[in-house]
């Protein structure tokens, strides 16, 4: 029983990782409906940012990298939106192919720049150790990721609900044509939304360096999970993404406890498929007279 309880914090921390990698997608996929396969490579860019900053910031690289990775990945996303994706709005299949191509190019670029083998980012010393809960220990780096996830969610919530720019974003996503008819420069809103969504991928990438090695294909490991969280939570729904990420994290950790890592993955996928059979729109949906 005690070891079963130990799975709780592990589930929470897996959920926090899932949430971090999915948060960016709630903007680009959830709000804008763009299937950006290169999102995983923005995660990778964030991870390598932490790696590169080690030379300069030493063991504090991961912390210093957070804002830098946000800006770098955000800029990459912004450039992608400006040069390519905006010409493909309303054409999801073309967008998928296009961004998949971009994803492959970025992965190869990473291989050329940093080499194919994985690299390691040394975590800041203040993240060594952990707290003991019940019979197990929860490492500080996992706690840090949870805190980071909470901070990001709070920031996004405040942005969407309390800032003029966030209000504009919601207006454009709910009724693009009417937003233009209200004087909102919709193209500029698209750019900023894409910048923020991509930037969050960079932040997630930095977080991933705390729990594992960094390689050119790090993004591909996580991109599917990220999309699953967004779809299961309901498109464009922040609280849906939070709950879906936590639920999947918990399911993953308990399934892994009873079986093994690869079987746990199968169980999680199966659960999502069954769930989406019954609720294809995800946990939360926008509901109103206008939409029903």
């Amino acid at each position: 029983m005690e070891s079963l309880l130990n799975q709780l914090p592990i589930g929470l921390s897996i959920g926090a990782v899932l949430l971090l990698i999915a948060l960016g997608l709630t903007f680009t996929f959830g709000q804008m409906g763009v299937i950006n396969m290169a999102h995983g490579e923005f995660i990778m860019a964030g991870a390598y940012t932490a790696y590169m900053l080690q030379d300069w910031a030493g063991a504090q690289a991961a912390a210093v990298a957070l804002p830098v990775a946000f800006a770098l990945a955000g800029t990459m996303g912004w450039v992608l939106e400006r040069t390519a994706i905006r010409h493909f709005y309303g054409r999801p299949l073309d967008t998928l192919l296009l961004t998949w191509g971009v994803s492959l190019v970025l992965q190869q670029a990473a291989r050329d720049l940093f080499g194919a083998p994985n690299v390691q980012v040394v975590a800041p010393s203040w993240l060594n150790g952990g707290v003991t809960i019940g019979g197990g220990t929860l490492p500080y780096n996992r706690l840090f990721i949870m805190a980071l996830a909470i901070a990001c969610v709070a920031g996004i919530w405040a942005y969407q609900n309390r800032s003029a720019q966030g209000r504009r974003m919601r207006a454009v996503m709910q009724n693009r044509e009417l937003a233009a008819c209200s004087g909102v420069a919709t193209a500029r809103v698209d750019q900023l939304t894409f910048f923020i969504g991509s930037g969050l991928a960079g932040v997630a990438g930095v977080a991933l360096t705390l729990i594992g090695p960094v390689g050119p294909s790090i993004g591909t490991y996580y991109i599917v999970d990220a999309f699953l969280v967004v779809v299961a939570g309901g498109l464009g729904q922040l609280r849906g993404a939070v709950i879906a990420a936590l639920a999947l994290g918990m399911l993953n950790s308990f399934a892994e406890f009873w079986t093994n890592a690869s079987l746990a993955k199968v169980i999680v996928f199966a659960a999502i498929i069954v769930f989406l059979q019954f609720r294809p729109q995800g946990m939360f949906v926008l509901r109103s007279r206008a939409l029903t």
């Binding site: 504009r168 207006a171 709910q174 044509e177 209200s182």
Partner: protein
């Protein structure tokens, strides 16, 4: 104030407008009439840049706006209320108005209060999500939203379509007040002849993507004009 010349528009290869000429003077209430499918909504969408015209020119206040994006036209003073009581359904009534205010050049909070004065009923619903209002209330919100931009011309696409009679009357009175008391120029698409007769200074009748008839309100009583509108 608004000069439309030789406007042509198409959806893909299906042409809808075949050279529409139209002019609205400052302070005038111009009514665009015609049966279903003659291109009334397409005309307004082309005037606002929601749809890019294939030929022709739109001049607002002496400035050629044919190539300007929609939001620039709104900022120049063209207030548009599209067909079908459109709102931002997940935003509250207050947010609907605020997001519009924040997109204007003037940013004057008083504009929201002024718009609410026109439809006082909305004041009781400020915290409710727009998507949960009735159709008539949504239409009032849609017009109030356009007023927040402090337009010099109001462009309305069938503002009374599918709306309960008591609110139709409120909307009609609001349009009349805006036009008569504030001297706002109005371009109104309306199928309801009686309403057009009461409000309009002038009218054009579209048929087959062209202006078939135009004149003053008095001409609307003409038999031939009525024949063009008969279904």
């Amino acid at each position: 104030m608004l000069e439309v010349t030789g406007l042509e528009a198409a959806y893909g290869r299906a042409r809808v407008l075949f050279g529409v000429d139209l002019s609205v003077e400052a302070g005038q209430l111009m009514c665009v009439m015609g049966r279903n499918g003659v291109g009334k909504t397409t005309l307004l969408n082309s005037v606002m840049g929601v749809l890019t015209p294939t030929a022709g020119k739109v001049v607002f206040d002496g400035r050629d706006v044919t190539r300007l994006p929609t939001y620039e036209r709104v900022r120049l003073g063209m207030g548009y209320v599209p067909q079908g009581h459109e709102t931002f359904p997940q935003l509250t009534v207050a947010e609907n108005l605020q997001v519009t205010l924040e997109a204007t050049r003037h940013r004057d909070r008083a504009a929201v209060a002024e718009a609410l004065e026109v439809f006082p009923r909305l004041k009781e619903m400020l915290k409710r999500r727009a998507g949960f209002l009735s159709g008539g209330q949504q239409q009032q919100l849609a017009i109030a939203r356009a007023l927040v931009t402090r337009p010099r011309m109001l462009i309305l696409d069938e503002p009374t379509e599918g709306i309960q009679p008591s609110i139709v009357l409120e909307i009609e009175q609001a349009i009349e007040r805006l036009h008569k008391e504030r001297g706002l120029a109005v371009l109104l698409v309306e199928q309801y002849l009686e309403l057009a007769l009461r409000l309009a200074d002038g009218f054009v009748i579209l048929d087959g993507g062209m202006v078939r008839h135009s004149g003053t309100a008095a001409d609307l009583r003409d038999e031939e004009v009525r024949r063009l509108l008969a279904v």
